[in-house]
Subunit: 261 residues, 2 copies
């Protein structure tokens, strides 16, 4: 048996990063894209081609998908391929990628503190916002659950939005937030990118309510962090590129009637 040529053997860490997500919408894939864009690390994004993207997601979500030799099946996108590894679930992909691209510590308590902050924003603010337009079933059209959506949105705006903004502000007020505008420590981490995208999507879906939160002056740290991320050179370039999708029919949708009393 011949020796493998080291130049031809791909280890996980020099394999390309490949994102699998729905084309057209930003959606949960956006949290992953922002990490690569900020870090300036190349990644392929199958969603850039509508047909290829749809096919990749369909094959991922097929009900007879039982994974492969190395990986259990994923239930839903986003998924990330890196060498032989295929993983899914947004906070899990971020947990894997962020320390590899310099946006999280590789070990120690910070790993778990950042994961906690990210899970709280994703599981809380992002998932609950999604459910404002789909409170009964994701298989039903919005139009068929509009009355329930209006009802849920009232509580979301009055109780849940301030709760999550207050939480994010408290993390910024904590001693663990350090110097600078960042959530944890003295420099930007992937949790800051998650906050940015969650707030950006909320601004799109509930513009009046987000403006009211801003004007209250109670969450200045949150909005300052939002601006600081937006102004990062790599993020700013990305947001102006056509790689950044427009909001439409994903998690973040704009239905003006949901902000009416």
């Amino acid at each position: 048996m011949s020796q493998p040529d080291p130049k031809r053997v791909k280890t996980d860490d020099d394999a390309p990063y490949e994102l699998i997500y729905w084309p057209v919408i930003p959606g949960r894939g956006e949290f992953v894209r922002l990490v690569f864009e900020e870090a300036g690390v190349p990644y392929s994004d199958v969603a850039q081609n509508i047909e290829k993207g749809m096919n990749a997601v369909s094959s991922l979500t097929a009900t007879d998908n039982i994974g492969d030799e190395h990986n259990p099946p994923a239930l839903a996108p986003p998924a990330l391929k890196h060498g032989d590894l295929l993983i899914s679930q947004t906070p899990n992909i971020l947990l894997y990628v962020a320390p590899r691209v310099g946006l999280a510590p590789k070990e120690g308590n910070g790993v778990y503190h950042l994961n906690e902050i990210v899970l709280t924003i994703l599981d809380g603010l992002v998932n609950e916002l999604h459910d404002t337009h789909h409170p009964i079933a994701i298989s039903l059209y919005y139009e068929d659950q509009k009355e329930e959506s209006k009802k849920k949105s009232q509580y979301f705006i009055k109780e849940r939005l301030p709760k999550y903004f207050k939480y994010m502000q408290r993390v910024l007020d904590a001693k663990t937030s350090g110097e600078g505008p960042w959530l944890y420590g003295d420099s930007l981490t992937y949790a800051d990118l998650v906050l940015f995208q969650a707030v950006d999507g909320t601004k799109f879906a509930f513009p009046k309510s987000t403006e009211a939160l801003k004007k209250s002056g109670e969450y200045d740290g949150v909005f300052k962090l939002y601006d600081a991320v937006k102004e990062r050179p790599n993020i700013s370039k990305y947001l102006q590129s056509d790689r950044r999708r427009k909001y439409s029919e994903g998690i973040w949708r704009y239905y003006p009637e949901l902000e009416e009393e």
Copy 2:
């Protein structure tokens, strides 16, 4: 300055594990308890004293909680204290504890595969089941959102329950599931304990629907794994002890009308 006495310096790993969760209900704290119980690792559980438990949770969830010198604030229980570290979010606590007590690999792809499976079960089956009795707002009583609950439950039973059972069965059918009844690899991991608790809670809340899934014969691996966990010596002892809470008003509630057509 005198040298620290090594016998008096507590490293993280010999510090006691302290669970902070609501008293009385099993709830999300149960996923953490099962890991310690299976591993036979001592832990304190503040919920064992109703007053102390209520106080600990109230202080954790206080809206002026900004954490401490070492930790950002938690938004909600469960939380785990281990030495100076305090972390929250169920899948995050499990990610931290499981490799330390021998119920998950310490590094490599398995870390992310297990986290993926656990996030899918918790974020999907568990959170969606919770929302069947609180589709509009968690601040409202069930009785004030009963009609919406009935509507949501119909879709949950018809579409979501089979989707998640099928997913769990597919993970068991994958090549990564190995020998034995377990989800990943050849031996029990914390993902198996999460599946057990998620199925056990579902049986309580939707007994007729769970029985129908069982009788269909399509998810035999899932129910076999459920039984295998239940029969583990440490788990079996725990389930018969008074440390195991009865289901009542938490995530898993039994409202017979939600299973009616």
